[in-house]
Structures are given as C-alpha cells and as structure tokens.
C-alpha cells in the first residue's frame, strides 16, 4: 500500500518470562508526529514492550504493525530501522566516541555526520574513550547513536536519565524536532513526563 503514511500499531501484546507474565494484552498506536508515553512502576513491562516493538524480543502473542513509506516492516527489518535509547545499550569501551559512531554508521551505511551533529549539540567530546564516559555522557552517546540514521520511529526507554539540566533540555529539543519532522516516538518512563507537545498515554501500572 504505497502512499500510506508511517504508523505503528500494536494490539494485544503478551509476553511471559517463564511463569511471569509481563505484558498482558497491551495495545496502542502512534501516528506521524505523534508520541506514546508508556508509564508504570518497575517491572510493569515498559522495557519489554519497547524491546518487542524494536524487534529485539518476540511477543508470545498479539500483532505489531509498523509501516513506512515503502511498506510494512517485519521484526528483522524493524530492528535495523528504529532508533533506540535504552539503559542497557552499551558501546565499545576500547573505541572513542567518534570511532563508535563511525563503526555503526558503516554498519548502517549512512554518513556519521548526523551523529556528530547530535554529539556537538549534547556537548560530548568525540575523542573520549567509550570506557571513560560517565553515565550522563553514555546517555548522550546513546542519543547520538539512536539518531545516527535519522530513523522515523524512536523508542526511548527512560530517555532523560542521568542527564544534567542542559543535557535534558537538548534531548527534549531533539525529540521535538523529530516529531515536528513527522517522526514517531514511544517513550517509556516510570513516572509521567511533561512535554510541550501532546502525547497519548499508556499506563502499564494497573
């Protein structure tokens, strides 16, 4: 269906880990320029939901429909297209920030310019070794990595954690620019976040 705009829709997603049922029939949808804010206490399944949406984890049941301009993408295609910021995302300690971005830009077959521009805005020196970064600096690198290939869909798990005030302000600006350009975002956070733009809300706490 060419011409159908980018959208993400998931219905009745269920995921168990052994006997523990983490996702129990979760549904939601995001349209271009839209954002879905997923909240809930620790262990409520926010990160699991984002991993399922990214294609990193297979849901036990339910459907995920993600469509870009050229058609619907399955899990393996989605995995290579989305931009992800997550606490468990790590980079090579032996490589500098610039080398990390260059390596992943070669894998994604894109110029590293976009990543370096984000780094500059977030104020992270490109010549620092990955192993010497503070937690706030690692979060900056995650943002630069997630936006490296200009993805249409951003999946952000606790996207502002460890940021100082300036870092959080810049990250919020980057998110706003992404949405203004017609991108989609799913943001997971333990508590609700205030955004300048409207966001659909999905509470996994109940």
């Amino acid at each position: 269906m060419p011409g159908v705009p980018t959208h993400l829709r998931f219905e009745n997603l269920c995921r168990r880990f052994g006997r523990l049922s983490v996702l129990k029939g979760v549904s939601g949808a995001v349209a271009p320029g839209g954002m879905l804010l997923v909240t809930g206490p620790n262990g409520s399944g926010k990160s699991t939901l984002l991993r399922c949406l990214s294609g990193l984890l297979a849901a036990d049941s339910g459907t995920i429909e993600y469509r870009e301009e050229e058609g619907q993408l399955d899990a393996s295609e989605r995995r290579l297209r989305v931009g992800v910021v997550a606490p468990d995302l790590a980079f090579y300690a032996e490589l500098t920030v610039a080398e990390n971005l260059e390596f992943f830009s070669r894998l994604r077959r894109v110029s590293p310019a976009r990543g370096f521009a984000v780094l500059e805005r977030l104020g992270l020196p490109a010549d620092r070794l990955g192993g010497t970064l503070s937690s706030g600096m690692r979060q900056r690198l995650r943002w630069a990595w997630a936006l490296l290939h200009s993805p249409r869909l951003l999946l952000l798990d606790e996207p502002f954690q460890n940021f100082d005030a300036a870092g959080e302000r810049t990250a919020r600006e980057l998110l706003a620019e992404h949405l203004a350009a017609g991108g989609l975002a799913v943001v997971a956070n333990p508590s609700s976040l205030d955004f300048d733009h409207a966001a659909e809300h999905l509470d996994l706490g109940g």
């Binding site: 393996s76 297209r81 992800v84 790590a90 032996e94 894998l107 077959r109």
Partner: protein, 228 residues
C-alpha cells in the same frame, strides 16, 4: 529492506576492522593465543627430548601434537568472539545495526586472520624444534589453510551458539567436541600424508567438504541463534 552485496561487504569489512582495532587496544586474544602456543610448544619440545623422535614415529606422532597445539591456542582465544559482546552489553547495539550474516562473516574473517597468523608463527617453530620432516610442504600449507579455516569457522559458530547461555565455558567444550573432532581427525590424517609424502586420497576433499558444510550451517544457524 534488502541490502545489496556491496553494502553487505562493507558491513563485513566494518566488523572485521572493529574487531582488530579493539584487539590491538586490549590484546586479549593475541596474548592468550601467544601464551598457550608458547607453553604447549615448549612442553612438547621438552617432552620429546633433545634427540626428538625417529622419522617413522615422527610421521605418526608429530602431526597430532601440531594440531593439539593449534587447537588449544585457538580454543583459548576465539570462543569469546560473541561472549564479550553479550557480557559488555554491546550485543544489543549490534543487533539493532548489523545484518546477522555480515556480522557472522566479519567475526569469522577476524578469527581466520588470527588462526592464520598463529599457524604462520607456530608451524615453522614447531617444525624446527621437533625436527618434523615434511616430504610435501605444499600439502602441509594446504592442510594448514583448510584446517585453519575449519578451526575458525567451527569456533565462531560454537561461540555464537554459547553467547547467550549461562554456562558458557562448559557449553563450549560440549558443543566444540562434535563440531571440531571430525575436523581434527581429517587434518591430522592429511598432515601425516604431507609428512610421509603420500597422497591424501579422500581426506583432503573431506576436509574441504567439512569447511563448506560448517560455513553453510553457520550462515543458516547464526541469524536464528543471534536474534529472538
């Protein structure tokens, strides 16, 4: 979303270059391989004594010892190819950016260069230290190439399978035994032929067939074991 051959090749090259860049900075595998190779070489040399072994004994014994040295050295360094990605949590970023087959081939290429470098250093020293008489040097080079490739691809495949398991060390031994045993039997047989100057008959084609089968199995299995 399909990636064409040139982009796939660029991905393989990127993974290969990253592996060597990280290796040159940590020298984990290089040091481990060098340590195991030196230790086993010295042990074998001392145990054979200054007179070495007779020519007939050498043809039977020395090929086995050579491949034991190579296997031990490789087994100490290569199983970490994917384990380290899981332990340092870089595997998630790789899953989100790399085509599985390109990642497998990039890691295999890195392992292959490591094994070939090891063979290039160990074999001449071993031949000199043990007075290993090789009647057919060309066949020895061929078996080192085919056997080295088999060691690299077999180890990379097993390393990928064990990466997400809890008991990685034990599982590597259990899985490596059936995967690498046929390889070692064949490489020892062909190396004996190289030493005695006799024709390898079916052993060399079987070795090449083993390499092809494990490569195809690796390319087919890797996306399944790497992704959910």
């Amino acid at each position: 979303m399909r990636r064409n051959t040139s982009t796939w090749g660029a991905e393989v090259a990127a993974v290969f270059a990253k592996e060597w860049r990280c290796e040159f900075r940590t020298r984990y595998s290089l040091n481990t391989l060098a340590l195991f190779a030196c230790t086993t070489l010295v042990v074998v040399s001392f145990s054979l004594g200054p007179l070495g072994v007779s020519r007939s004994q050498g043809t039977a014994l020395l090929p086995v010892l050579l491949w034991i040295i190579l296997l031990f050295s490789v087994a100490a360094g290569l199983p970490r190819a994917f384990v380290q990605e899981e332990e340092t949590h870089t595997a998630t970023a790789l899953r989100l950016a790399a085509t599985p087959s390109a990642l497998f081939c990039g890691k295999l290429l890195y392992g292959l260069t490591l094994v070939f470098a090891l063979e290039a250093l160990v074999t001449p020293v071993y031949v000199a230290m043990t007075s290993f008489n090789v009647e057919s040097p060309g066949l020895l080079i061929a078996v080192l190439a085919a056997g080295g490739y088999g060691l690299a691809v077999g180890s990379t495949l097993v390393a990928a399978i064990i990466a997400q398991a809890r008991s990685k060390g034990t599982l590597f031994s259990v899985l490596a035994f059936p995967v690498l045993l046929p390889l070692l039997v064949l490489t020892v047989e062909v190396t004996r032929c190289a030493a005695s100057g006799s024709a390898p008959d079916v052993a060399l084609p079987q070795l090449l067939l083993y390499d092809a089968v494990v490569t195809v199995a690796g390319l087919m299995l890797f996306p399944v074991v790497w992704n959910p």
